[in-house]
């Protein structure tokens, strides 16, 4: 996944390109405490039985924001409804894992690690980063990898990014904080003491180096949306994320957290079930994500960023007597971004007509398969490599479009070259293989008129991703021609506004 970063930095040197389609970012929002899926994504066709099972927390049918005739959103989720209508929100129904563990801690460990039987000390993303960057944290950051591989918003690193030796995420509470820690000239004299002194000195240097990069990105970046609410902590953090991404920070993963989903009591207000703790949480989540997506659009970064929410479990079908719900099983998971290949995946949960003690929603999709599909299609990790990260036999789902992603080697061999995103707006990348040979890439219009030269030079053996700057091109159809010693490839490119 992240090994493409090498190519980006070469690209940066050779071409003056503002952004890279290859430079993909995943934003993860953790809904801490166990989100009530039924009141988030409302199964409209189940109202009769929901009334039997959870009347005291039930959202009135008329208030649900309909996405389809069968599926609605919580009334406070207007922002995410708009995103759905724009094709920028995906819902995966009933995500969980076999034999759900209802302990917050254990289940969060399972979701963070992507392992069920023996949650290891590594996270699902950390394991992949261990493959890509062996020997981390020694020798990082460096000239090729100046930035943290992942950012965890807040004070804690994210357990999703825990590697064997260290956590790959760098915690950032405010990217404008200045790091200026006293560095230390201690040497490792080979003793236990010396090794620890050396380790601490490395951390101090790393903190300063990462801090400077983050400061630089935050100060150099911008944020354009006016939709962020300064009183919404998640929105503030997402705005920081947009600022860092637009400032060119090359971190691949941003993890954010929103607390308060453990709604055993007072989930809804007694007077009005569309108000209360859960309503406020859904509003914050929905508003913040809508503002963030708006910002990405204005910053022209939409093709670079996708997002995902997760929670350790859903809640039980039947509500309790305290206007709340208890720990349950599966729940819907949201994806967001402009490169989604799904709108609603899966079916509404079936609500029975009588209360079954402690019943949750049965799982339809295994969360590990969602992770696997994102690793494969968003980060371009091969399916074989993805499989090695998980203990179960992985099923891949098409969650993201070839908006610059979902490229597999078969397609590449067949096509000769792949352009993504395609259609493209301001930047696109052309991916092809070369064999240690001279390569020239040009863009022609449909009348074979030469428009621009993209590349002229020798490329090493293997797969290459060459960025193209399309901002000044008029809207229309173009031909990207790759001239290699071994042959000629012509591919169509569609330029959009």
């Amino acid at each position: 996944m992240l090994n493409e970063m090498k190519i980006q930095s070469i690209g940066k040197k050779l071409f003056d390109v503002a952004g890279f389609a290859e430079d993909r970012v995943l934003v993860i929002i953790r809904l801490n405490g166990g989100n009530d899926g039924i009141n988030s994504v409302i199964p409209i066709d189940q109202y009769a039985n929901m009334t039997i099972q959870r009347s005291n927390v039930l959202i009135p049918q008329a208030s649900a924001l309909g996405l389809t005739t069968e599926v609605g959103l919580h009334p406070k989720m207007g922002g995410m409804r708009n995103m759905y209508n724009d094709g920028k929100l995906g819902i995966i129904q009933n995500v969980g894992y076999p034999e759900q563990n209802r302990s917050h801690f254990r289940s969060m460990d399972i979701w963070s690690s992507g392992m069920i039987d023996n949650p290891p000390s590594t996270g699902w993303l950390g394991r992949q980063m261990d493959v890509d960057f062996p020997n981390y944290p020694d020798a990082y950051p460096n000239a090729t990898y100046p930035d943290p591989f992942a950012i965890s918003m807040g004070y804690e690193t994210s357990s999703t990014c825990q590697g064997l030796m260290a956590n790959f995420s760098h915690a950032v509470n405010n990217p404008f904080d200045v790091y200026n820690l006293a560095s230390s000239g201690v040497l490792d004299d080979g003793t236990y003491y010396g090794s620890h002194m050396d380790y601490l000195a490395t951390l101090i240097d790393q903190a300063n180096a990462f801090g400077a990069q983050i400061n630089g990105a935050a100060n150099g970046g911008s944020t354009l949306s006016t939709m962020y609410d300064a009183g919404n902590p998640l929105a503030v953090q997402l705005q920081y994320v947009a600022q860092m991404i637009s400032g060119g920070l090359q971190s691949k993963v941003y993890v954010l957290n929103i607390n308060g989903f453990d709604t055993h009591d007072s989930q809804v207000s007694a007077a009005d079930t569309t108000e209360g703790t859960h309503a406020e949480l859904m509003k914050r989540l929905s508003d913040a994500i809508e503002a963030f997506q708006d910002d990405l659009m204005l910053l022209n970064l939409e093709h670079k960023v996708m997002g995902m929410t997760f929670s350790e479990f859903g809640r039980q079908v039947a509500s309790n007597a305290s206007l709340g719900t208890d720990h349950g099983d599966a729940a819907p998971l949201f994806l967001f971004g402009s490169c989604l290949d799904i709108d609603i995946m899966g079916s509404n949960p079936v609500i029975g007509n009588s209360v079954v003690n402690q019943a949750g929603i049965p799982m339809q999709y295994d969360f590990r398969d969602i992770y696997a599909s994102i690793l494969k299609d968003w980060f371009g990790v091969s399916s074989g490599e993805v499989q090695t990260l998980f203990e179960h036999s992985v099923t891949f789902y098409p969650l993201v479009t070839p908006c610059g992603v979902g490229i597999n080697e078969e397609d590449l061999a067949k096509e000769g070259a792949l352009i993504y995103p395609n259609p493209a707006t301001s930047n696109a990348t052309v991916r092809f293989t070369a064999g240690n040979e001279w390569v020239k890439i040009d863009i022609y219009d449909i009348n074979s008129k030469h428009i621009a030269e993209v590349y002229d030079g020798t490329l090493s053996q293997g797969r290459h991703d060459i960025p193209m700057k399309l901002k000044d091109l008029p809207i229309g159809e173009y031909i990207v021609q790759i001239k290699k010693e071994s042959g000629l490839i012509n591919s169509k490119l569609m330029k959009m506004k």
């Binding site: 460990d109 601490l200 951390l203």
Partner: protein, 525 residues
């Protein structure tokens, strides 16, 4: 074990006190030098009595302000009860931190943290039970390990935490049984066959779960009962005779009702591996994370032999270890990175800094330290899992796990606030390091070089590089000749209460401490 017979100076005494306490003062180290190793070790191995946590938060509506709440009921209304519980939890957190902050010359607080990490139960739903759990830990801190395990097995907080309270004849729950074998007593060895972990088998877990069936917990958040208790309920107990695996010689455990769990624990303790297991943990906590083959065959074996010979009394093992040649070996000095609590309270205790305001303010301030430690990865009553904090067990990184590039900044920020920028503000008061008192209590505060030597002796495990010491001295003297510091300090002494003289002295020592706390040397122990 071979007893230590080498030099006994501030270096060795400081090593002993830093490992067994959170933050010795210069005077405590000097006293230890005077009193000698044997008598210092004996003094350390005593557990002083403590007082119970008291009500300080306005949300505590049952117990009166300033009085203990551990024998108080809860309000009947569940939401009101939750509010009171939150207040009690805060009291408990402040109390735990205050105990560390006010520790005298004793291993007590380090032992309590050791056992909190070993029997790693979180604070549960009822702070009275959580408090009882901490009292149990303290009462057995240097006592009989076998009896400790027995008492812990039927401790209400533990029964709730590992589902012992729902382990019944009709639905056995293996959670506690598994951890009892895997983490609390004999330890999990390599898997050598299906369900066979060298020291025990899956069938032992299943049998142990049945053996321990029938305990319920009564009084949880009760509005009438003043205590949370474990209650044995015969009809929920599995009365069949349980058979253990070959690892326990195929022993059988016949029905013995409420005491059957103790019979089982006696059988487990017949295996000497129990002694090895707990001695390895003690070694990693007090000496070094690295269990080399030679440490295993000498130190661990000798510790385990002592433990078995003393019928599983812990005190003799520590008495021997803390007076052994190996404990003072230069190779193990500075071999551990301080955990967050060690880091925070070495700073505070080493400078004799206590809040000293009113009750509620003091509790709040200690709670602030609690949350800071939490931010840095160590919430006292809330280990991340039943295995404890990974820094104490996770190979190969061990104590390195306490710090990362983020936590190191937090450590630096916190030490700067505490030493320079006003400390922790609560209710209009600030708790900052008592830098001036600390300075006054050093051996010769008017001599710059001595001040720096003393500071390094108190806070760092090994000799600090001469260049680093010069930098520290230059900070103290503001790069002036040393005699200028002497003059300034003597002026301050001659003008008591005059801040025009004391403030500059205070600032210099604050700057030195702030710098010292940002040196890697300070973060090792």
């Amino acid at each position: 074990m071979t007893p230590y017979t080498g030099p006994w100076t501030k270096v060795e005494a400081g090593h002993l006190l830093r490992r067994t306490m959170f933050g010795p003062t210069n005077q405590q180290i000097l006293d230890a030098v005077t009193n000698g190793m044997a008598s210092t070790v004996t003094a350390l191995l005593q557990i002083p009595a403590i007082t119970a946590p008291v009500a300080f938060h306005p949300d505590e509506t049952i117990a009166a302000f300033g009085s203990p709440w551990a024998d108080s009921v809860y309000p009947s209304d569940p939401i009101a009860a939750q509010t009171v519980e939150t207040a009690r939890l805060m009291s408990l957190g402040g109390w735990a931190m205050d105990r560390i902050n006010s520790e005298q010359l004793t291993i007590a607080e380090k032992m309590c943290l050791f056992w909190q990490n070993h029997f790693a139960a979180n604070a549960g739903l009822d702070s009275r039970a959580t408090y009882d759990y901490h009292v149990l830990i303290r009462s057995h801190a240097l006592g009989n390990f076998r009896q400790f395990v027995k008492d812990m097995t039927i401790n209400p907080n533990m029964l709730l935490f590992l589902n012992g309270a729902t382990n019944t004849l009709y639905s056995p729950n293996e959670n506690y049984a598994r951890e009892l074998l895997e983490l609390f007593t004999i330890g999990k060895g390599p898997q050598i066959g299906p369900g066979d972990y060298t020291n025990y088998k899956e069938e032992d877990v299943a049998a142990a779960a049945k053996i321990m069936t029938g305990y319920l917990v009564d009084g949880l958040r009760s509005d009438t009962l003043t205590d949370v208790t474990a209650v044995f309920t015969p009809i929920l107990h599995d009365t069949s005779t349980k058979t253990l695996s070959s690892h326990f010689g195929g022993a059988t455990v016949p029905d013995n009702g409420a005491n059957e769990y103790a019979d089982f624990i006696d059988i487990v303790f017949q295996q000497d591996e129990v002694a090895n297991f707990i001695c390895r943990k003690l070694y990693r906590y007090f000496v070094n994370y690295d269990l080399t083959t030679s440490v295993e065959s000498t130190v661990i074996t000798e510790m385990a032999n002592t433990l078995i010979a003393s019928n599983y009394e812990v005190l003799p093992v520590l008495q021997e270890l803390l007076a052994s040649e190996h404990f003072y070996d230069t190779s193990v000095r500075g071999a551990l990175i301080k955990g967050p609590l060690d880091m925070l309270y070495s700073m505070l205790n080493g400078t004799e800094s206590v809040p000293g305001f009113d009750l509620a303010t003091d509790y709040e301030m200690q709670l602030n330290i609690y949350w800071l430690a939490d931010t840095m990865g160590q919430a006292y009553a809330s280990p991340p899992s039943v295995a404890g904090w990974p820094a104490y067990y996770q190979e190969p990184s061990f104590s390195k796990l306490w710090v990362n590039a983020t936590h190191i900044k937090t450590r630096f920020d916190v030490s700067s606030w505490m030493s320079l920028y006003g400390g922790i503000p609560v209710n209009g008061n600030n708790w900052e390091l008592d830098a001036l008192t600390f300075l006054d209590n050093l051996s010769d505060p008017s001599v710059a070089a001595t001040v720096i030597d003393d500071i390094c002796d108190v806070f760092t495990p090994k000799d600090v590089d001469v260049v680093q010491k010069l930098i520290l001295k230059a900070i103290l003297t503001n790069s002036l000749p040393d005699f200028e510091w002497t003059l300034q300090y003597n002026d301050y002494l001659a003008n008591p209460g005059n801040t025009a003289y004391s403030d500059p002295v205070k600032l210099r020592i604050q700057l030195v401490l702030s710098r010292l706390f940002q040196m890697p040397e300070f973060h090792t122990i």
